[in-house]
Structure formats: C-alpha cells, structure tokens
C-alpha cells in the first residue's frame, strides 16, 4: 500500500472516481484505471465491453482485470505438459461466498469468452476492491481448477510464464437486489458483490 497519493488521472488530470475501500480508481473519460494496492500507484489502460446480450434493464459497469498469460501446466503423476496463451478476466470486485455463488472469472475462462469492445456507455461503475497483486493469484487457481476438472489429476504444476495486464469494464444488468452479467447472464445478489 502507498501513503497519501493524489487521485488524478495521469493523462487529463481529472479526479479519479471510486469508493472508500477501493483499490482501483477510474478516469472514465480517458479510460484509465489507477491501482493503489501495490508499493506505488500504477495506471492501466481500460477497455469498455459492449453488452453481450441485450436486456431492457438498467446497467452498471463491473471492473475486471484482463490478464493475458502464457502458461504451462504439468500433470505431475503422468508427466504431461500443456502450454498455451489465454485470456483471464479476474473480477476486480470481491465475490462473497464464491464456492456457493460461483466464480465468474473461472466461467469466463471455461467459456473462452470473447468480449466485444466499444464506446463507453454513460452508466455507473461498480467499486473495485481487488488490486492487481491479488488478481495475479487467480490464473494459477483457475488453471489448476480447470485442468484438474478436465483431466481428473490430483496434482498439477502450473507455471505462469508471462502476463500482460489491463482493465476491462463489463456491463451487468441490475434487477431488484441482484446483478447479472450481460454475457453469461450469471446472477448474483447485490450483497454478494460488495
């Protein structure tokens, strides 16, 4: 964590938006996100996804870390090695009781999600309280879960060789006290995401 920092966009000098417990603050006009969870504050570029499925409901942008990682997964008992390059979309917000409500980032990886990007919509942005440091753990976790699910292997060795990071804002729909993403229409109660 850093000490007092000015929350100003490094490009346009506008004040960044965010809430008290956030780790990432946004400049929506420039499409920049500032991560303050590390030793120093770091700016990342940000893309705006278009809604995957159209619904006549109010929308809100949910922030995700977009990590493009080269990896290798080794099944330690059989010696098989799988190498690849994949996109990870790690929620930059915390999902409560994830074992019950489900991990949207994992589902995006399983579905090999291809997001469409476009102009920023004039909708609010959900607070982001997961910084890149914590998000970097998830490619390991997702690959291990996914590989062991597919192969049934008990022990796997995962190596992340190289990662590029950015932020993606994905539109979610709001219905009553719940949110669902516009791609998989996966539903969460509002309290599970704060």
């Amino acid at each position: 964590m850093v000490d007092n920092i000015k929350l100003k966009c490094d490009r346009c000098s506008a004040n960044l938006s965010g809430k008290n417990n956030n780790c990432v603050f946004f400049c929506l006009s420039c499409g920049r996100g500032c991560d303050v969870s590390g030793e120093s504050s770091v700016f990342y570029s940000m893309k705006f996804a278009t809604p995957g499925k159209t619904q006549d409901l109010p929308m809100e942008y949910f922030p995700f870390w977009h990590l493009r990682s080269e990896f290798s997964v080794e099944n330690t008992s059989e010696g098989n090695i799988l190498e690849g390059l994949t996109d990870f979309y790690i929620p930059a917000f915390f999902i409560k009781n994830i074992n019950y409500f489900g991990d949207l980032g994992l589902y995006y990886m399983q579905k090999e999600m291809k997001l469409q990007y476009g102009e920023r919509l004039d909708i609010p942005v959900f607070p982001a309280d997961r910084g890149l440091i914590d998000a970097m753990n998830y490619p390991y976790i997702y690959l291990m879960k996914e590989y062991s699910r597919k192969t049934g292997a008990d022990y796997v060795n995962v190596n992340i060789l190289k990662t590029g990071a950015g932020l993606v804002l994905i539109p979610f729909y709001k219905k009553g006290h719940s949110y669902f993403d516009s791609y998989l229409l996966w539903n969460y109660p509002s309290g599970a995401l704060i």
């Binding site: 007092n4 000015k6 929350l7 008290n20 590989y147 062991s148 022990y155 599970a192």
Partner: protein, 338 residues
Amino acid sequence: MNVKVISCSECGAPLRVAEGQFLTLCKFCNVKYYVKQDLPPAITIKDNINLAEAKKIVLDNLRHKDVSKGFLANSYFEKGTLFFIPLIEIRGVKARESSKEIAGKSEYGYTAYDYIEHGSHLADLEIDFIDSSIVENSLLNAEQGEYDVNEMRKRGVVLSLKPDFNIEKKTGADEQTVVEKHVRIVYFPVWEINYSYSGIIFKSYISSIDGKPIKIQAIKNHRRKLIFSIMGIFSLAILMARGLKFILIFLTGSEMGMEASRIMLWFFLLGALITIILSSLLIPYFWEMFAFREIISIRQDGVESKLINYSDNNLMKFLRGFLDKARQLFSAGKSDDG
C-alpha cells in the same frame, strides 16, 4: 473516533481524515487524496428502512404469542435511533488444509473464506451481540453507500471500534496458506426503537437494511402461568378436603364419622370455591404483579426472559397498607390492655 490531519500538497490546507476513511477531498483546490491508514478501510451499508417502517415492524413483532396481550395496547413510543455498528469483515482465498504449497506450486485446492466479527463492544446498546445469520442474510441484499462519517453522525449514532480490535486473527487458516486477504470495517445500520409500558422503557432492534428483527423486548404473556395457578389452587383444595375426610374416618371409625366427614367435605369444597372466586377477582392484580417481573427478549434463536426489579404495584400497595393497619390495630389493642 480518532481523526488524522494531513496537508493538501497543492495548497497546504489541513484535511481531516477519520479512522477507516481512505479518501478525502481538498475543498479549496478540488484535489482528491488516497490516504493510507493504520486501520482497514470502512464502508457503509445503505439503510432502506425509515423510522416509521421500523416502528411498524416492531409493532408487528409485538403480536408474538409470548408477548402479554395488553402490552401492545398500553405501550407508548418514546424514540427511535439509528445506530451504525462496526463489523470487521475478513475475506479472501486460502489454500485448503491438505495443500502443501501455495500460489499454484503443487495443488489446486483453494477455497474462499469470509468471516465477520463484532468491531464494537455494543456497550451503548441493550444487546451483547447480533446473530451472525441476521448479519449475513441482511448483507446479502445490501448495497454499498458512501462512507461519510459526518453524514452518518447527522443521521444517527456511530459506534466506535473496540480498542482491543485485532485484524490479524480469524482467517481460519495459517497465514502461510492465505493467498488473498482483505480486511475492512462494515458499518451495519440498526434501528433502536424505544417504547414505554407502565414507566418501564423497552428497547427493540431492527436491521435497517431489510427490516429483520434482531431483538424484540416486551412483557411476558403469563396467561398460561395463571391458568396453571388456578388449577393448582383448585386441586389443592380438593386434596385438602379429601385428606381431612380420611383423617376424620380414621379418628372416629364410625357411621357418625362418615357423616361428619361428608359435612367436612362440603365445607372444604365451599372453601375451595371461595378461594377460586377470590383468585378470579385478584386476577388483574396477579396479572400486573407477574407482568412487572419478567421481561422477554425475542431473538432469532429463541426467547429469553429475565427478571427485573420489583415494581410497586396496586396489590403490593394494598397489602402493605393492610399490614400497616393491622399492625396499628394490634399495637393500639396492646396499649389499651396495658
């Protein structure tokens, strides 16, 4: 609540930052700051229940079967206060117990954890804890509000964090196995509704997120106790009459004895009847006497009751007056004899 003061790096203006407050804005040069604090960041949960709704929820809950029937009609609303109660939330991801190494080196067993504990001693309230199931259910449909201590203070009472609060515990795992850990203070809004009944103040608590009752306080319904008391008096009278009848038979052992015992039986039945009539006349007094002695607290996990200090009610006044008069008469008679 501790307040830290920092200086704006643009204009040098002092900026006050309350504990748990990580964001502040310089009103002079409109610069926003992220301020690192010793305590974790705080959030406020939006409250959706207003005072009128909270009062209605309390009224509905006072129709509980364990609440005295006359309580609702004869109690008066005194005041309602919104409390913001700090809870400590610790959450993240940990390796499962069987894992040997973390960060993906040898095993895929990861699980999320989420613990909530009280961040305040609740000394200002008449509750010692809030049931975790109420907190979790309320938080499930909650939405995050803006954390603004001044605004919270305008609207209600912000309870302070307990001094022995320790963020390092309660991850439910060895620190070696914790992959991700977030700690924050969650201000949970709770309505305290005060109402009085015969001079006693009662306090009930309602979650201001979804209106779930946390604790409802009232006078216990003693109807069942009274019914059992009357039945007990009646049974005792019959038993006494039958006992005396057998004693009389035992002592006399004759037809005359049987006749005498029959007279005695009627005599004691008459006595029992008089006892019952007197008991019935005294029901309101008994009712009041019982009622003033036991307060119940209805919680999600059951009903608990506690005895309170004896209140001087009509029956006691009457008995005390009667005894005083008897004592005076007795002492007057003694002095006359002297």
